[in-house]
């Protein structure tokens, strides 16, 4: 996984994770009420630029990630484009009916999904689990038991991956992977899922018992190894986000690319 990150030293890694989380989640509310196709076009454009500037992913990964996300987002709007209601017909063949209204609505939906994915990726690629959960405990007062539970769970991912490989190797040694048909496939799936779930549950139980044995307390006040605080960078972050969102709205007002200012009308 090390080569996935370009550098964990970039600006966005140093933002207070709770602030980043809250601000980014609140953007959902902002764009949920946008019905102007132009705003969505410009917003996705500016967030794309922002993503390239701040993303923690290495270049090659980053490009394919964005590309796939764009394709997938437009796919997700295909139903609305092909089967939406509307009166100005562009294309009509049997069940498929593409109208100007449904096309505009579909594009808006696709771009909205794309923008949210980009915002989500800005968050996901610049946030490391450990500071994130520490910050949740310290700034947002998330109960320690849940945050530490998540931290412990994240530590188990590599173990689960290893376990998956072990099961596969064991199956290969016994010739299970060569059997074809529905029944052997079902058998394999069964063995993967049940074994991994049962082992994960047992591991979680053991971890919980070990934590309690070491006097992990669910209620009392505690101190933290990492103290997550605030800095000037948090202020920069707020300004950058506000600027990106405002630019989207301003450009939509002064440089409208399409006539669809409200896709719910017509």
């Amino acid at each position: 996984m090390d080569n996935v990150w370009a550098s964990t030293n970039k600006l966005f890694f140093k933002i207070n994770p709770s602030l980043k989380f809250l601000l980014i989640s609140s953007l959902f509310i902002v764009y949920l009420f946008v019905q102007n196709l132009n705003t969505m076009i410009w917003a996705s454009f500016f967030f794309l630029i922002l993503y390239y500037l701040v993303s923690g992913l290495a270049g090659k990964w980053s490009f394919w990630f964005v590309f796939l996300t764009l394709i997938v987002s437009l796919f997700s709007a295909s139903a609305m484009i092909m089967f939406g209601k509307g009166s100005h017909i562009i294309y009509h063949q049997s069940l498929i009916l593409i109208t100007q209204e449904s096309l505009a609505r579909g594009l808006l939906l696709g771009l909205r999904t794309f923008t949210f994915s980009l915002i989500g990726m800005i968050f996901a690629t610049t946030t490391l689990p450990v500071p994130f959960f520490y910050s949740l405990m310290q700034q947002l007062k998330v109960p320690v038991r849940y945050a530490y539970g998540c931290l412990a769970a994240f530590r188990m991912i590599p173990i689960m991956a290893e376990e998956f490989l072990h099961i596969r190797q064991a199956m290969r040694v016994r010739g299970m992977t060569r059997q074809k048909g529905i029944k052997p496939l079902y058998e394999r799936m069964n063995r993967y899922s049940l074994t991994m779930l049962a082992q994960s549950i047992r591991r979680a139980q053991r971890t919980a018992i070990a934590m309690e044995a070491k006097r992990f307390s669910m209620t009392e006040r505690r101190t933290y190894y990492y103290e997550i605080g605030w800095s000037r960078i948090d202020l920069y972050f707020i300004v950058i986000m506000l600027l990106t969102v405002t630019l989207g709205f301003v450009f939509a007002a002064y440089f409208p690319l399409t006539p669809f200012t409200n896709v719910l009308d017509h």
Binding site: L32, V72, L118, G149, A152, A153, Q205
Partner: protein
């Protein structure tokens, strides 16, 4: 007796950890299913809606396993958070969907006061999560603006998918897990268990 029961049903550290680990596993599944779901979409017949049900699985599965209040909500929310941290498609949207779906799923188990965990109740909880997703989709994805026949097809497929993938499937999985014996130590002690001792 009633006091003892209430402390009995409180989540302890083991319950929380097990729930979160399960949620993380499902978060990974959600993340991997995301692209699959989007790729079947362009066929237009809403085959994607059949797959939609998988996103409700964390809540009923965890509830069946641990059988305590709050588990379903915690599992679905944590799974959604995990999906967001794994940079799943849709990003922050997932968290809102997860919160609401978890709450609706939880409400069904709460309606039976966490005493009944049959196949029917599990399916109903999947159905409740489906209602939650449709409420959000009506605003987010403009569902009412789809052509009538298309919307109907969509809703029917979603109901079938959610009952199959988040009702029957988790029920069967937990039944399988019961055979391995791991579930015994997770569930709250019942009256029957005490009766065995007497």
């Amino acid at each position: 007796m009633s006091k003892e029961k209430s402390t009995n049903l409180k989540l302890n550290l083991t319950d929380i950890l097990v729930t979160i680990v399960i949620a993380l596993v499902f978060g990974l599944v959600f993340r991997l299913m995301g692209p699959v779901y989007d790729l079947v979409k362009p066929f237009g017949l809403h085959l994607d809606a059949l797959l939609y049900g998988i996103w409700f699985i964390a809540a009923p599965f965890a509830a069946l396993l641990i059988r305590k209040p709050g588990v379903a909500f915690l599992a679905e929310t944590a799974a959604a958070l995990a999906e967001m941290l794994f940079a799943g498609s849709g990003g922050v949207i997932n968290l809102y969907y997860g919160l609401l779906q978890g709450a609706f799923s939880e409400a069904v188990f709460a309606a039976w006061r966490y005493k009944k965990f049959s196949l029917g109740v599990t399916s109903l909880s999947a159905f409740a999560a489906l209602i939650a997703s449709i409420i959000l989709d009506a605003g987010y994805a403009y569902l009412p603006l789809l052509a009538g026949w298309n919307l109907t097809l969509y809703l029917v497929f979603r109901v079938i998918g959610s009952i199959l993938l988040s009702g029957l499937f988790p029920y069967a999985l937990v039944k399988g897990l019961e055979k391995t014996g791991v579930t015994q130590s997770l569930r709250p002690v019942t009256k029957e268990d005490y009766d065995v001792l007497n």
